[in-house]
Symmetry: C2
Subunit: 437 residues, 2 copies
């Protein structure tokens, strides 16, 4: 089945940042033709883009799709992670709830133009089923952590889970399974090494939270006289397979190490700032050649699962931090959310830009809504004006998953109802936690 979209402006995000006004595109699973004006080819389905903007599907390099139930719970509380999230997760998170949450979160991402996401959570097999059904592209990492968790009776149960989960999904066309030790300071050395061995053995990514917490830095300084990044180097974890989330509290040597080992970074400005953790040195990382993608973080941390929120926050925080409004012009921020994200996932040959032969992961933004006029600069409009709601249509592998702002394959109402039903026990307990706070 071949689709053509015409009457659009195409932001290719190719190396030349080529923009094609009055453009058209044709694709099946892959992009087969891009041009200006009218196409001369055949297509089974022709879509009038109504002067919209076609951009590559956005890439969310860090999230926790099982965590929709936690949204708006204890947002402004100190040590929320240990007071709300960990205990409630252990008490209430189930296979069914993780699945229902993942379906909801994937709906939210698709509706906002995210076509690929990298997830770390529990019950990743359920999340894989959700991603498989919904047609999105997903990197899914089972969490390894030093305590009993919702999907394991013993600490570090994620190691065994991953050994079963990774081979099960490894040959899926849209799903890449991987292993996700929770953080530098929530795993012992041995567990981190074992996780790394699994990552090597199956040649899949390893992702963890790193250099995110003040107490994490203090812990490694006290116990190892090292930074967390130096500690990871000692254990042999630094490699091009590693995607380190957050990386806020880095020194210059840390950045050099990340660059030397070709470690990738998932930068979550919204989550980091809301939790008052600081602004990661993205400028310095990029200058050293470290690939940095953007992440929404989980819906409990970043609250909304769309990249537009991150784009705006990224611009405002990094410009303000360096006292330079010309730093990170809008097109470079869109770059972080598309082709740079693809580089973080090692997928830049296949996704992240609109080029012939690449996978047809595409987003059509409408420009009819009140916030989208005038447009003198398409990148500016995307970074400073656009919101999730402006996403009209979304394609993954050429398959239409969102059309006219609604899911195509599934009923959002049903997905929401299922989550609501599965959340009953969780919601009761969550309200008790709210009262205790």
């Amino acid at each position: 089945m071949k689709t053509r979209i015409e009457n659009i402006t195409i932001l290719t995000m190719n190396q030349e940042f080529e923009i094609i006004e009055d453009g058209f595109i044709e694709f099946d699973k892959q992009i087969t033709c891009i041009g200006q004006g009218q196409s001369c080819h055949d297509a089974d389905c022709i879509i009038d883009g109504h002067h919209g903007i076609l951009m590559p599907g956005m890439i969310n390099t860090h999230t926790h799709v099982g965590m929709i139930p936690f949204r708006s719970l204890g947002d402004d509380c100190k040590d929320r992670l240990r007071r709300f999230l960990f205990p409630l997760e252990n008490e209430c998170m189930t296979e069914k709830l993780a699945y229902a949450s993942a379906k909801y979160a994937i709906s939210e991402m698709l509706l906002s133009g995210i076509t690929t996401f990298m997830d770390m959570y529990y019950f990743e097999d359920e999340i894989a089923k959700a991603a498989d059904e919904m047609g999105i592209r997903a990197f899914l990492g089972e969490t390894v952590i030093d305590f009993q968790s919702c999907d394991s009776e013993k600490p570090y149960g994620g190691l065994d889970y991953a050994k079963w989960f990774i081979p099960k999904w490894k040959n899926h066309s849209r799903i890449v399974p991987f292993i996700a030790p929770h953080a530098t300071n929530t795993n012992c050395e041995d567990a981190l090494k074992q996780a790394n061995e699994i990552s090597k053995q199956y040649n899949v990514p390893l992702s963890l939270h790193a250099c995110e917490m003040d107490y994490e830095i203090a812990y490694f300084k006290e116990h190892y006289q090292q930074t967390p990044i130096q500690f990871l180097e000692t254990l042999g974890l630094l490699s091009s397979r590693l995607v380190a989330a957050h990386c806020i509290l880095l020194n210059k040597d840390d950045i050099d190490l990340l660059a030397r080992y070709q470690v990738k970074v998932a930068h979550c400005i919204g989550s980091n700032a809301k939790a008052a953790k600081g602004v990661a040195p993205v400028k310095e990382m990029l200058e050293k050649g470290v690939h940095v993608g953007l992440g929404t973080d989980g819906p409990s941390s970043g609250n909304t699962l769309d990249m537009f929120t991150q784009f705006k926050l990224f611009a405002d925080f990094h410009k303000n931090h360096y006292h330079d409004r010309s730093l990170f012009p809008a097109k470079n921020i869109v770059e972080l959310g598309t082709i740079e994200g693809a580089k973080v996932l090692g997928m830049d040959a296949k996704i992240g830009s609109i080029e012939i032969g690449k996978k047809a992961d595409l987003v059509l933004l409408e420009t009819d809504s009140v916030n989208m006029f005038p447009i003198f600069d398409y990148y500016s409009a995307i970074v400073y004006s656009a919101q999730a709601h402006n996403v009209d249509s979304v394609f993954v592998d050429g398959q239409c998953l969102v059309r006219h702002k609604e899911l195509v394959k599934e009923s959002f109402q049903e997905i929401k109802k299922n989550l609501y039903d599965e959340m009953k026990e969780f919601s009761k307990k969550a309200k008790m936690y709210e009262i205790k706070k």
Copy 2:
């Protein structure tokens, strides 16, 4: 005509931050009844709120509604004000364009739940006409500046304009005219004093940009050995009539002066951060009792005219700045956008909260969209999750101006077409400026 909305959660934003779940409200021009469950009164029109959130109409304390044509133009350029905005304004801004832009900007604000705004621009008589027609509440200040401007052949023409404009609109039920010297450093002492006299004579506010620019601070230090706030004190401009926009670069003494003279502040975090100007000391101002409202700034600076964008940025910037996630809990941020904004405008007896006898300026948020579930904390949902698109209905003075996300009184398509037509000359010139940059 009496309207009842039922099946809603009411965030009253009264002094006790009272929340009424399963609530109803009745109003004509004013709020006549608030309660829980079913109302026992009569109403001409009954609206089912579908489990939505009813909040006070939001108050935008600083914007420039004539500037829609500039949106997305030269966003990331250094000294954009003098390289793009001032010259293009002088070349291309006309009476008709200001009017067309105001209609568009007011549409955008109404659709995002802003029911009152404070504007500074040129051709304010046109903007008053637009506000009058559209039913929004507006504080409108004619700009006074030290050069020939788009609506005056001579410098400081705004002084004469204001003398004609203020009495013309002073008795309008929804419009408060005022005078707006552009900034501390774009007016001579005499013009500032004259503007202040006009403000006194008509007992209307005076608003200006203050302590926004590095070079402004340097200028007053060099020429007066004063801060801009000290300079304003010397001239007699500090008073409870003054609304100072931005106030980023304040020292402790400046804050004391603002408090002593009961000066009000319009804080525009989105615009300030994007332009890399810093984070205003809002915590310190509030601690000293200075009233601080939030502002979108103009659509060229803040890009979108909605308070949700400002709420999220406010939370993230101020929490991160003080390295404390518990600072400014969500309810206090909603407070800044509602009742605190009303205090800035001296209107808190009439608007800013949902209380019997107050004007029926109301916003109904739908909670059906994907970003609005679950809601454990209503304020969190508004600050961290909600977007302009979630605004379902808007009332000003009890009149329904937005229903089901569409303007009631006017056609947005027509407003957009008029602006597009009026912008033709502007757009041509703007593109030439883009190329030169």
